[in-house]
Protein backbone atom coordinates (compact mmCIF):
# COMPACT_ATOMS: atom_id res chain seq x y z
CA UNK A 1 0.00 0.00 0.00
CA UNK A 2 1.27 3.47 -0.74
CA UNK A 3 2.07 5.69 2.19
CA UNK A 4 -0.82 7.93 1.21
CA UNK A 5 -3.31 5.10 1.45
CA UNK A 6 -1.82 3.86 4.70
CA UNK A 7 -2.11 7.30 6.25
CA UNK A 8 -5.66 7.75 5.00
CA UNK A 9 -6.65 4.35 6.35
CA UNK A 10 -5.17 5.03 9.74
CA UNK A 11 -6.74 8.46 9.91
CA UNK A 12 -10.14 7.04 9.06
CA UNK A 13 -9.78 4.46 11.78
CA UNK A 14 -8.67 6.97 14.41
CA UNK A 15 -11.42 9.45 13.61
CA UNK A 16 -14.23 6.94 13.26
CA UNK A 17 -13.39 5.27 16.54
CA UNK A 18 -13.08 8.73 18.10
CA UNK A 19 -9.60 7.94 19.34
CA UNK A 20 -8.63 11.38 18.10
CA UNK A 21 -10.49 14.60 17.36
CA UNK A 22 -8.19 15.73 14.63
CA UNK A 23 -5.53 14.39 12.32
CA UNK A 24 -2.83 16.86 11.38
CA UNK A 25 -1.30 15.80 8.10
CA UNK A 26 -0.54 17.02 4.61
CA UNK A 27 -2.75 17.77 1.66
CA UNK A 28 -2.23 19.10 -1.83
CA UNK A 29 -3.76 22.49 -2.58
CA UNK A 30 -5.33 23.80 -5.76
CA UNK A 31 -2.00 24.82 -7.26
CA UNK A 32 -0.49 21.43 -6.63
CA UNK A 33 1.42 22.57 -3.57
CA UNK A 34 1.60 20.38 -0.50
CA UNK A 35 0.55 22.07 2.72
CA UNK A 36 -0.58 21.28 6.28
CA UNK A 37 -4.09 19.85 6.64
CA UNK A 38 -6.36 19.49 9.64
CA UNK A 39 -8.86 16.70 9.22
CA UNK A 40 -11.70 16.40 11.71
CA UNK A 41 -14.08 14.14 9.83
CA UNK A 42 -13.52 10.57 8.69
CA UNK A 43 -15.17 11.51 5.40
CA UNK A 44 -12.36 13.97 4.69
CA UNK A 45 -9.41 11.64 5.09
CA UNK A 46 -8.94 11.43 1.35
CA UNK A 47 -7.47 14.91 1.55
CA UNK A 48 -4.44 13.46 3.28
CA UNK A 49 -1.38 12.61 1.20
CA UNK A 50 2.22 11.70 1.53
CA UNK A 51 4.72 12.88 -1.06
CA UNK A 52 8.23 14.25 -1.35
CA UNK A 53 6.99 17.78 -0.83
CA UNK A 54 5.83 17.15 2.74
CA UNK A 55 8.37 19.57 4.11
CA UNK A 56 6.44 21.17 6.97
CA UNK A 57 7.10 20.22 10.57
CA UNK A 58 3.56 19.69 11.77
CA UNK A 59 4.55 19.44 15.43
CA UNK A 60 4.55 23.23 15.48
CA UNK A 61 0.75 23.05 15.67
CA UNK A 62 0.67 20.74 18.65
CA UNK A 63 0.83 23.37 21.36
CA UNK A 64 -2.29 25.11 20.06
CA UNK A 65 -4.15 21.88 19.98
CA UNK A 66 -2.95 20.25 23.17
CA UNK A 67 -2.00 23.10 25.44
CA UNK A 68 -4.42 25.96 24.80
CA UNK A 69 -3.87 27.53 28.21
CA UNK A 70 -0.20 27.58 27.55
CA UNK A 71 1.76 29.48 24.92
CA UNK A 72 -0.46 31.90 22.99
CA UNK A 73 1.57 31.73 19.78
CA UNK A 74 -0.64 30.54 16.95
CA UNK A 75 -3.57 30.32 19.29
CA UNK A 76 -6.75 29.12 17.65
CA UNK A 77 -9.72 28.28 19.83
CA UNK A 78 -10.21 27.93 23.53
CA UNK A 79 -11.15 24.34 24.17
CA UNK A 80 -10.30 21.47 26.44
CA UNK A 81 -7.82 19.47 24.43
CA UNK A 82 -9.00 16.28 22.79
CA UNK A 83 -6.53 13.76 21.40
CA UNK A 84 -4.77 14.63 18.20
CA UNK A 85 -2.92 12.55 15.63
CA UNK A 86 0.00 14.06 13.76
CA UNK A 87 1.97 12.82 10.78
CA UNK A 88 5.69 13.22 11.38
CA UNK A 89 8.92 12.57 9.58
CA UNK A 90 11.95 11.33 11.52
CA UNK A 91 13.17 14.91 12.09
CA UNK A 92 9.73 16.12 13.17
CA UNK A 93 9.40 13.22 15.60
CA UNK A 94 12.42 14.47 17.51
CA UNK A 95 10.55 17.72 18.14
CA UNK A 96 7.88 15.74 19.96
CA UNK A 97 10.45 14.48 22.44
CA UNK A 98 11.66 18.01 23.12
CA UNK A 99 8.11 19.28 23.64
CA UNK A 100 7.39 16.37 25.97
CA UNK A 101 10.56 16.98 27.94
CA UNK A 102 9.47 20.58 28.39
CA UNK A 103 6.07 19.50 29.70
CA UNK A 104 3.96 21.14 27.06
CA UNK A 105 1.44 18.32 26.91
CA UNK A 106 1.08 14.71 28.04
CA UNK A 107 2.13 11.98 25.60
CA UNK A 108 -1.25 10.26 25.97
CA UNK A 109 -2.99 13.10 24.15
CA UNK A 110 -0.97 12.44 21.05
CA UNK A 111 -1.15 9.69 18.47
CA UNK A 112 2.03 9.86 16.45
CA UNK A 113 1.88 8.63 12.87
CA UNK A 114 5.55 8.28 12.08
CA UNK A 115 6.72 8.01 8.49
CA UNK A 116 9.88 6.29 7.32
CA UNK A 117 10.91 9.09 5.04
CA UNK A 118 13.04 8.96 1.90
CA UNK A 119 13.74 12.62 1.88
CA UNK A 120 11.98 15.83 0.91
CA UNK A 121 12.77 17.62 -2.32
CA UNK A 122 14.67 20.88 -2.50
CA UNK A 123 12.81 24.10 -3.25
CA UNK A 124 9.34 22.88 -2.43
CA UNK A 125 7.05 25.35 -0.73
CA UNK A 126 9.95 27.73 -1.11
CA UNK A 127 9.48 31.45 -0.98
CA UNK A 128 12.18 33.81 -2.24
CA UNK A 129 13.70 31.63 -4.88
CA UNK A 130 10.57 31.36 -6.95
CA UNK A 131 10.96 34.99 -7.82
CA UNK A 132 14.69 35.15 -8.02
CA UNK A 133 16.57 35.40 -11.23
CA UNK A 134 18.26 32.08 -10.70
CA UNK A 135 16.53 29.21 -12.40
CA UNK A 136 17.56 25.87 -11.00
CA UNK A 137 18.91 23.31 -13.43
CA UNK A 138 16.45 20.43 -13.77
CA UNK A 139 18.74 17.97 -12.03
CA UNK A 140 18.62 20.02 -8.84
CA UNK A 141 14.85 19.68 -8.65
CA UNK A 142 15.20 15.99 -8.00
CA UNK A 143 17.66 16.52 -5.21
CA UNK A 144 16.54 16.10 -1.63
CA UNK A 145 17.02 18.85 0.92
CA UNK A 146 20.37 19.04 2.65
CA UNK A 147 18.82 18.20 6.02
CA UNK A 148 17.59 14.95 4.46
CA UNK A 149 21.04 14.22 3.15
CA UNK A 150 22.23 14.52 6.76
CA UNK A 151 19.48 12.32 8.12
CA UNK A 152 20.59 9.34 10.18
CA UNK A 153 18.44 6.28 10.03
CA UNK A 154 15.30 7.72 8.39
CA UNK A 155 13.26 6.33 11.29
CA UNK A 156 10.96 8.33 13.59
CA UNK A 157 12.23 8.24 17.17
CA UNK A 158 8.73 7.97 18.58
CA UNK A 159 5.53 6.72 17.00
CA UNK A 160 2.26 4.99 17.68
CA UNK A 161 1.73 4.00 14.08
CA UNK A 162 4.61 3.42 11.68
CA UNK A 163 4.10 4.12 8.03
CA UNK A 164 6.71 2.29 5.99
CA UNK A 165 9.24 -0.24 7.07
CA UNK A 166 12.24 0.16 9.28
CA UNK A 167 15.22 0.44 6.89
CA UNK A 168 17.20 -2.77 6.75
CA UNK A 169 20.53 -1.05 7.39
CA UNK A 170 21.18 2.27 9.02
CA UNK A 171 22.75 4.60 6.53
CA UNK A 172 24.88 6.15 9.19
CA UNK A 173 27.64 7.04 6.79
CA UNK A 174 25.42 9.62 5.12
CA UNK A 175 24.50 11.21 8.40
CA UNK A 176 27.67 13.11 9.10
CA UNK A 177 28.15 14.04 5.47
CA UNK A 178 27.02 17.26 3.86
CA UNK A 179 28.06 19.52 6.63
CA UNK A 180 30.16 21.24 3.99
CA UNK A 181 28.53 24.61 4.58
CA UNK A 182 29.21 24.38 8.30
CA UNK A 183 32.81 23.36 7.74
CA UNK A 184 33.22 26.24 5.33
CA UNK A 185 32.07 28.75 7.96
CA UNK A 186 34.12 27.22 10.72
CA UNK A 187 37.23 27.61 8.58
CA UNK A 188 36.65 31.38 8.53
CA UNK A 189 38.33 33.72 10.96
CA UNK A 190 36.01 35.39 13.49
CA UNK A 191 36.21 38.63 11.53
CA UNK A 192 35.26 36.85 8.32
CA UNK A 193 32.43 35.07 10.04
CA UNK A 194 31.10 38.33 11.44
CA UNK A 195 31.19 39.88 8.00
CA UNK A 196 29.42 36.88 6.53
CA UNK A 197 26.63 36.87 9.09
CA UNK A 198 26.09 40.62 9.06
CA UNK A 199 25.71 40.55 5.32
CA UNK A 200 23.15 37.75 5.68
CA UNK A 201 21.21 39.50 8.43
CA UNK A 202 21.17 42.68 6.39
CA UNK A 203 18.49 41.16 4.16
CA UNK A 204 16.38 40.07 7.10
CA UNK A 205 13.02 41.85 7.37
CA UNK A 206 12.07 40.58 10.84
CA UNK A 207 9.08 38.76 9.46
CA UNK A 208 9.63 36.18 12.20
CA UNK A 209 8.60 33.32 9.93
CA UNK A 210 11.63 31.37 11.17
CA UNK A 211 10.43 31.71 14.72
CA UNK A 212 6.78 31.09 14.00
CA UNK A 213 7.40 27.88 12.05
CA UNK A 214 9.64 26.44 14.76
CA UNK A 215 7.95 24.02 17.21
CA UNK A 216 10.47 24.94 19.89
CA UNK A 217 9.92 28.68 19.67
CA UNK A 218 6.81 28.84 21.76
CA UNK A 219 7.25 31.59 24.32
CA UNK A 220 3.92 33.39 24.86
CA UNK A 221 5.61 36.65 23.93
CA UNK A 222 8.96 36.46 22.24
CA UNK A 223 11.72 38.23 24.13
CA UNK A 224 12.60 40.17 21.02
CA UNK A 225 9.10 41.51 20.61
CA UNK A 226 8.18 42.53 24.10
CA UNK A 227 6.30 45.80 24.06
CA UNK A 228 6.71 46.49 27.72
CA UNK A 229 10.35 45.95 28.46
CA UNK A 230 11.57 46.46 24.91
CA UNK A 231 14.75 44.43 25.31
CA UNK A 232 15.25 44.91 21.60
CA UNK A 233 13.96 47.90 19.66
CA UNK A 234 11.46 47.67 16.84
CA UNK A 235 13.83 48.97 14.21
CA UNK A 236 14.35 46.59 11.30
CA UNK A 237 18.07 47.26 11.58
CA UNK A 238 21.26 45.26 11.73
CA UNK A 239 21.76 45.51 15.50
CA UNK A 240 18.28 44.29 16.24
CA UNK A 241 18.38 41.53 13.65
CA UNK A 242 21.75 40.31 14.82
CA UNK A 243 20.49 40.23 18.39
CA UNK A 244 17.39 38.32 17.40
CA UNK A 245 19.10 35.67 15.29
CA UNK A 246 22.02 35.05 17.61
CA UNK A 247 19.80 35.10 20.66
CA UNK A 248 17.35 32.73 19.09
CA UNK A 249 20.16 30.36 18.19
CA UNK A 250 21.24 30.29 21.83
CA UNK A 251 17.69 29.74 23.00
CA UNK A 252 17.53 26.73 20.71
CA UNK A 253 20.89 25.25 21.66
CA UNK A 254 20.32 21.71 22.76
CA UNK A 255 16.68 22.00 21.68
CA UNK A 256 16.78 22.42 17.91
CA UNK A 257 16.20 19.13 16.14
CA UNK A 258 17.48 20.22 12.76
CA UNK A 259 14.35 20.16 10.59
CA UNK A 260 15.66 23.32 8.89
CA UNK A 261 12.13 24.62 8.35
CA UNK A 262 13.33 28.00 9.63
CA UNK A 263 15.61 28.26 6.66
CA UNK A 264 13.05 26.93 4.20
CA UNK A 265 10.46 29.57 5.10
CA UNK A 266 12.82 32.56 5.04
CA UNK A 267 11.78 34.80 2.15
CA UNK A 268 15.30 36.20 1.99
CA UNK A 269 17.21 32.92 1.75
CA UNK A 270 19.14 33.49 4.96
CA UNK A 271 20.89 30.27 6.05
CA UNK A 272 19.34 30.40 9.49
CA UNK A 273 19.78 26.74 10.27
CA UNK A 274 23.58 27.03 10.05
CA UNK A 275 23.60 28.86 13.36
CA UNK A 276 21.43 26.25 15.00
CA UNK A 277 23.53 23.40 13.66
CA UNK A 278 26.68 25.06 14.88
CA UNK A 279 25.34 25.32 18.41
CA UNK A 280 23.95 21.79 18.26
CA UNK A 281 27.47 20.57 17.59
CA UNK A 282 28.80 22.60 20.52
CA UNK A 283 26.18 21.20 22.86
CA UNK A 284 26.95 17.68 21.74
CA UNK A 285 30.67 18.21 22.24
CA UNK A 286 30.25 19.76 25.69
CA UNK A 287 27.42 17.74 27.14
CA UNK A 288 27.06 14.69 24.91
CA UNK A 289 23.43 15.72 24.32
CA UNK A 290 21.53 15.57 21.06
CA UNK A 291 18.08 17.13 21.01
CA UNK A 292 15.01 14.98 20.61
CA UNK A 293 16.40 11.47 20.72
CA UNK A 294 14.60 10.92 24.01
CA UNK A 295 12.18 13.04 26.05
CA UNK A 296 14.84 14.42 28.37
CA UNK A 297 15.41 18.11 29.05
CA UNK A 298 18.35 19.94 27.44
CA UNK A 299 21.60 20.23 29.38
CA UNK A 300 20.94 23.85 30.29
CA UNK A 301 18.12 22.58 32.44
CA UNK A 302 19.72 19.41 33.78
CA UNK A 303 23.22 20.77 34.32
CA UNK A 304 22.16 24.12 35.75
CA UNK A 305 19.70 22.49 38.10
CA UNK A 306 22.42 20.17 39.30
CA UNK A 307 20.79 16.94 38.22
Amino acid sequence: MSYTLEIQTKARELLTSKQVECVIGYEVGLRGRTRPAFVYDAQDVERLVWNQACTHNLTTYLNDKLNPQGPVKNKTKEHTPGRVAVVVKPCDSRAINVLLAENHFPRELLHVIGVVCDGILEKVGQSGNLRSVRQLPISDLSQVQSRCQRCEGHMPVTYDTLIGECPSHQELSLGKANQADLIHIQAMTPAERAEYWFSQFDRCIRCYACRQVCPMCNCPTCLYERDDSLWVGIRIGLNEKRTFHLGRAFHLAGRCIGCDECERVCPMNIPVSLLNRMLAKEVEALFGHRAGLAPIPPPFVTVLSGS
Binding site: D227, D228, S229, L230
Partner: protein, 285 residues
Protein backbone atom coordinates in the same frame (compact mmCIF):
# COMPACT_ATOMS: atom_id res chain seq x y z
CA UNK B 1 2.51 66.66 -7.32
CA UNK B 2 1.45 69.16 -4.70
CA UNK B 3 4.36 70.53 -2.72
CA UNK B 4 4.63 69.76 0.95
CA UNK B 5 4.09 73.35 2.09
CA UNK B 6 0.67 73.47 0.49
CA UNK B 7 -0.60 70.54 2.48
CA UNK B 8 -1.84 70.56 6.05
CA UNK B 9 -0.54 74.11 6.57
CA UNK B 10 2.94 72.64 6.33
CA UNK B 11 2.35 70.96 9.68
CA UNK B 12 3.66 67.47 10.07
CA UNK B 13 0.86 65.47 11.75
CA UNK B 14 3.42 63.17 13.37
CA UNK B 15 5.32 66.06 14.97
CA UNK B 16 4.00 66.73 18.49
CA UNK B 17 3.41 70.10 20.10
CA UNK B 18 5.14 70.63 23.41
CA UNK B 19 3.16 71.03 26.59
CA UNK B 20 4.23 71.58 30.19
CA UNK B 21 2.88 69.54 33.07
CA UNK B 22 1.49 72.10 35.45
CA UNK B 23 -0.23 69.70 37.81
CA UNK B 24 0.01 66.01 38.60
CA UNK B 25 -2.59 64.60 40.93
CA UNK B 26 -3.32 61.11 42.16
CA UNK B 27 -6.74 60.30 40.82
CA UNK B 28 -7.07 56.68 41.86
CA UNK B 29 -4.91 53.66 42.45
CA UNK B 30 -2.23 53.75 39.71
CA UNK B 31 -4.15 56.49 37.92
CA UNK B 32 -2.86 60.05 37.78
CA UNK B 33 -4.50 63.18 36.45
CA UNK B 34 -2.14 65.28 34.37
CA UNK B 35 -2.86 68.91 33.61
CA UNK B 36 -0.91 70.21 30.66
CA UNK B 37 -0.45 73.81 29.47
CA UNK B 38 0.32 73.91 25.77
CA UNK B 39 3.27 75.95 24.54
CA UNK B 40 3.81 77.89 21.31
CA UNK B 41 1.83 76.54 18.34
CA UNK B 42 0.02 74.07 20.55
CA UNK B 43 -1.95 76.88 22.23
CA UNK B 44 -3.64 77.72 18.94
CA UNK B 45 -4.24 74.08 18.08
CA UNK B 46 -6.03 73.46 21.37
CA UNK B 47 -8.08 76.66 21.58
CA UNK B 48 -10.99 74.57 20.41
CA UNK B 49 -11.68 70.93 21.11
CA UNK B 50 -14.78 68.94 21.98
CA UNK B 51 -15.90 66.26 24.43
CA UNK B 52 -14.89 62.82 23.17
CA UNK B 53 -11.74 63.86 21.36
CA UNK B 54 -8.34 62.48 22.25
CA UNK B 55 -4.64 63.21 21.88
CA UNK B 56 -1.41 61.28 21.61
CA UNK B 57 0.76 62.04 24.62
CA UNK B 58 4.50 61.53 24.19
CA UNK B 59 6.67 60.26 26.96
CA UNK B 60 9.79 61.30 25.06
CA UNK B 61 12.30 58.52 24.86
CA UNK B 62 9.71 55.77 25.14
CA UNK B 63 6.87 56.59 22.80
CA UNK B 64 3.32 57.83 22.46
CA UNK B 65 -0.09 56.58 23.44
CA UNK B 66 -3.68 57.82 22.97
CA UNK B 67 -5.57 59.46 25.87
CA UNK B 68 -9.03 60.93 25.99
CA UNK B 69 -9.13 64.62 26.81
CA UNK B 70 -10.78 64.94 30.22
CA UNK B 71 -11.29 68.70 30.18
CA UNK B 72 -13.17 71.37 28.20
CA UNK B 73 -11.63 74.63 26.89
CA UNK B 74 -14.44 76.64 28.47
CA UNK B 75 -13.13 75.78 31.93
CA UNK B 76 -9.52 76.81 31.32
CA UNK B 77 -6.55 76.52 29.00
CA UNK B 78 -4.94 73.47 30.56
CA UNK B 79 -5.72 70.04 29.18
CA UNK B 80 -6.49 67.20 31.57
CA UNK B 81 -5.63 63.55 30.98
CA UNK B 82 -6.19 60.53 33.19
CA UNK B 83 -3.24 58.17 32.83
CA UNK B 84 -3.44 54.59 34.09
CA UNK B 85 -0.02 53.02 34.61
CA UNK B 86 -0.22 49.84 32.53
CA UNK B 87 2.50 49.72 29.87
CA UNK B 88 5.84 51.26 29.00
CA UNK B 89 4.56 54.68 27.89
CA UNK B 90 2.26 55.16 30.87
CA UNK B 91 4.95 53.98 33.28
CA UNK B 92 7.29 56.62 31.88
CA UNK B 93 4.58 59.28 32.10
CA UNK B 94 4.03 58.40 35.73
CA UNK B 95 7.69 59.25 36.40
CA UNK B 96 7.12 62.82 35.28
CA UNK B 97 6.43 65.69 37.63
CA UNK B 98 5.31 69.28 37.50
CA UNK B 99 7.43 71.34 35.14
CA UNK B 100 8.30 68.43 32.87
CA UNK B 101 7.53 68.64 29.17
CA UNK B 102 5.37 66.17 27.27
CA UNK B 103 4.47 65.95 23.62
CA UNK B 104 0.86 66.39 22.54
CA UNK B 105 -0.62 65.59 19.13
CA UNK B 106 -4.16 66.55 18.51
CA UNK B 107 -7.00 67.21 19.00
CA UNK B 108 -7.80 63.95 17.24
CA UNK B 109 -10.90 61.99 16.46
CA UNK B 110 -14.56 62.92 16.39
CA UNK B 111 -16.69 64.10 19.31
CA UNK B 112 -20.02 63.71 21.06
CA UNK B 113 -22.71 65.67 19.25
CA UNK B 114 -23.53 67.74 22.34
CA UNK B 115 -25.75 70.09 20.33
CA UNK B 116 -27.90 67.18 19.22
CA UNK B 117 -28.19 66.11 22.86
CA UNK B 118 -29.70 69.45 23.89
CA UNK B 119 -33.16 69.14 25.34
CA UNK B 120 -32.69 65.44 25.96
CA UNK B 121 -32.32 63.44 29.15
CA UNK B 122 -28.82 62.11 29.50
CA UNK B 123 -27.73 58.84 31.05
CA UNK B 124 -23.96 58.82 31.47
CA UNK B 125 -22.25 55.54 32.40
CA UNK B 126 -18.60 55.49 33.32
CA UNK B 127 -16.59 52.40 34.26
CA UNK B 128 -13.21 52.88 35.90
CA UNK B 129 -10.89 55.15 33.96
CA UNK B 130 -13.59 55.22 31.28
CA UNK B 131 -14.96 58.09 33.30
CA UNK B 132 -12.21 60.36 32.03
CA UNK B 133 -13.52 60.98 28.49
CA UNK B 134 -17.00 61.42 30.00
CA UNK B 135 -15.93 64.23 32.33
CA UNK B 136 -16.01 66.81 29.54
CA UNK B 137 -19.55 65.69 28.73
CA UNK B 138 -20.56 66.22 32.36
CA UNK B 139 -18.81 69.58 32.57
CA UNK B 140 -20.51 70.76 29.38
CA UNK B 141 -23.91 69.75 30.70
CA UNK B 142 -23.33 71.23 34.16
CA UNK B 143 -22.07 74.51 32.71
CA UNK B 144 -25.12 74.77 30.43
CA UNK B 145 -27.63 73.09 32.68
CA UNK B 146 -30.82 74.51 31.19
CA UNK B 147 -29.84 73.25 27.72
CA UNK B 148 -30.21 69.63 28.77
CA UNK B 149 -32.88 67.49 30.47
CA UNK B 150 -32.43 65.07 33.40
CA UNK B 151 -28.86 64.03 34.03
CA UNK B 152 -28.42 60.52 35.43
CA UNK B 153 -24.82 59.52 36.16
CA UNK B 154 -23.86 55.91 36.86
CA UNK B 155 -20.27 55.74 37.98
CA UNK B 156 -18.55 52.44 38.66
CA UNK B 157 -15.22 50.83 39.44
CA UNK B 158 -13.91 47.47 40.56
CA UNK B 159 -12.98 48.93 43.96
CA UNK B 160 -13.46 52.30 45.70
CA UNK B 161 -9.75 53.05 45.21
CA UNK B 162 -10.32 52.94 41.46
CA UNK B 163 -13.14 55.48 41.31
CA UNK B 164 -12.15 58.61 39.44
CA UNK B 165 -12.95 62.29 40.11
CA UNK B 166 -14.25 61.57 43.61
CA UNK B 167 -13.62 65.23 44.52
CA UNK B 168 -16.24 66.32 41.98
CA UNK B 169 -19.12 64.12 43.09
CA UNK B 170 -20.55 66.79 45.36
CA UNK B 171 -20.52 69.28 42.49
CA UNK B 172 -22.37 66.78 40.32
CA UNK B 173 -24.90 65.82 42.98
CA UNK B 174 -25.70 69.40 43.81
CA UNK B 175 -26.56 70.36 40.24
CA UNK B 176 -30.28 70.72 39.49
CA UNK B 177 -32.15 67.69 38.12
CA UNK B 178 -29.03 65.53 38.45
CA UNK B 179 -28.64 62.13 40.08
CA UNK B 180 -25.35 60.39 40.81
CA UNK B 181 -25.31 56.64 41.44
CA UNK B 182 -22.11 54.94 42.52
CA UNK B 183 -21.25 51.27 42.57
CA UNK B 184 -18.22 49.07 43.07
CA UNK B 185 -17.67 45.35 42.51
CA UNK B 186 -15.67 44.98 45.71
CA UNK B 187 -16.41 47.37 48.58
CA UNK B 188 -14.03 48.44 51.33
CA UNK B 189 -14.83 49.09 54.95
CA UNK B 190 -16.01 52.68 54.41
CA UNK B 191 -18.16 52.04 51.38
CA UNK B 192 -21.81 52.80 51.90
CA UNK B 193 -23.20 52.99 48.38
CA UNK B 194 -24.20 50.26 45.95
CA UNK B 195 -22.22 47.09 45.58
CA UNK B 196 -22.40 45.24 42.29
CA UNK B 197 -21.78 45.57 38.58
CA UNK B 198 -22.82 48.67 36.69
CA UNK B 199 -25.27 46.55 34.73
CA UNK B 200 -27.06 45.61 37.97
CA UNK B 201 -27.11 49.26 38.98
CA UNK B 202 -28.49 50.23 35.61
CA UNK B 203 -31.32 47.74 35.95
CA UNK B 204 -32.07 49.08 39.41
CA UNK B 205 -32.03 52.74 38.36
CA UNK B 206 -33.95 51.82 35.21
CA UNK B 207 -33.82 55.21 33.43
CA UNK B 208 -36.55 55.85 30.91
CA UNK B 209 -35.59 55.76 27.24
CA UNK B 210 -38.13 58.51 26.55
CA UNK B 211 -36.31 61.43 24.92
CA UNK B 212 -33.07 60.02 26.32
CA UNK B 213 -29.49 59.59 25.18
CA UNK B 214 -27.06 57.19 26.82
CA UNK B 215 -23.31 57.72 26.80
CA UNK B 216 -21.10 54.87 27.93
CA UNK B 217 -17.38 54.56 28.35
CA UNK B 218 -15.37 51.82 30.00
CA UNK B 219 -13.73 48.46 29.28
CA UNK B 220 -15.06 46.71 26.14
CA UNK B 221 -16.77 44.04 28.23
CA UNK B 222 -18.63 46.68 30.22
CA UNK B 223 -19.77 48.56 27.13
CA UNK B 224 -21.05 45.33 25.67
CA UNK B 225 -23.15 44.28 28.67
CA UNK B 226 -24.36 47.79 29.48
CA UNK B 227 -25.64 48.01 25.94
CA UNK B 228 -27.59 44.80 26.38
CA UNK B 229 -29.29 46.20 29.48
CA UNK B 230 -30.05 49.49 27.71
CA UNK B 231 -31.70 47.47 24.96
CA UNK B 232 -33.77 45.65 27.52
CA UNK B 233 -34.84 48.97 29.02
CA UNK B 234 -36.10 50.07 25.63
CA UNK B 235 -33.23 52.25 24.43
CA UNK B 236 -32.80 52.18 20.65
CA UNK B 237 -29.28 51.89 19.15
CA UNK B 238 -29.55 55.44 17.76
CA UNK B 239 -29.95 56.71 21.32
CA UNK B 240 -26.85 54.98 22.66
CA UNK B 241 -23.43 56.53 22.26
CA UNK B 242 -20.12 54.97 23.19
CA UNK B 243 -16.50 55.88 23.00
CA UNK B 244 -14.40 52.92 21.96
CA UNK B 245 -10.81 52.08 22.59
CA UNK B 246 -8.38 50.36 20.24
CA UNK B 247 -4.66 50.00 20.07
CA UNK B 248 -3.35 52.93 18.04
CA UNK B 249 0.01 54.01 16.71
CA UNK B 250 -0.63 57.11 14.62
CA UNK B 251 -4.08 58.41 15.54
CA UNK B 252 -4.48 60.05 12.15
CA UNK B 253 -5.76 57.22 9.99
CA UNK B 254 -2.48 56.24 8.35
CA UNK B 255 -1.16 53.19 10.13
CA UNK B 256 -4.35 51.16 9.79
CA UNK B 257 -4.09 49.45 13.14
CA UNK B 258 -7.25 50.62 14.89
CA UNK B 259 -9.79 49.41 12.36
CA UNK B 260 -13.11 47.90 13.28
CA UNK B 261 -14.07 46.57 9.91
CA UNK B 262 -13.93 49.47 7.50
CA UNK B 263 -14.05 52.12 10.23
CA UNK B 264 -10.95 53.52 11.90
CA UNK B 265 -11.46 54.28 15.57
CA UNK B 266 -9.08 57.23 15.35
CA UNK B 267 -10.83 59.11 12.52
CA UNK B 268 -14.36 57.68 12.30
CA UNK B 269 -14.44 57.50 16.11
CA UNK B 270 -13.72 57.15 18.94
CA UNK B 271 -17.32 58.24 19.42
CA UNK B 272 -19.86 55.96 17.76
CA UNK B 273 -23.57 55.43 18.14
CA UNK B 274 -24.54 51.84 18.76
CA UNK B 275 -26.44 51.98 15.48
CA UNK B 276 -23.10 52.48 13.72
CA UNK B 277 -21.46 49.81 15.85
CA UNK B 278 -24.29 47.44 14.98
CA UNK B 279 -23.56 47.89 11.29
CA UNK B 280 -19.93 47.00 11.71
CA UNK B 281 -19.15 43.48 10.61
CA UNK B 282 -16.39 43.28 13.16
CA UNK B 283 -17.18 43.43 16.85
CA UNK B 284 -15.24 45.65 19.22
CA UNK B 285 -15.20 43.05 21.94
Amino acid sequence: MILLEERSNGKNPMLPYLGRLVKVKDLASDIKLFSVEMLDGGREAFKKYYPGQFVFLSAFGVGEAPFGIASIPQRGTSLDFAVNRLGSVTTELHQLGEGDLVGVRGPLGNWFPMDEFKGKNLVVLGGGIGGAPLRPVLHTVLDNREDYGHLTILWAARHPSLLVFTDEYDEWRSAPDTRLHLTVDQPDAEWDHNVGLITDLLEKVSPSPENAISITCGPPVMIYYVNQVLCKLGFKPEQDYVTLEARMHCGIGKCGRCNLGEKLVCVNGPVFSMAEVGEMAEGFL
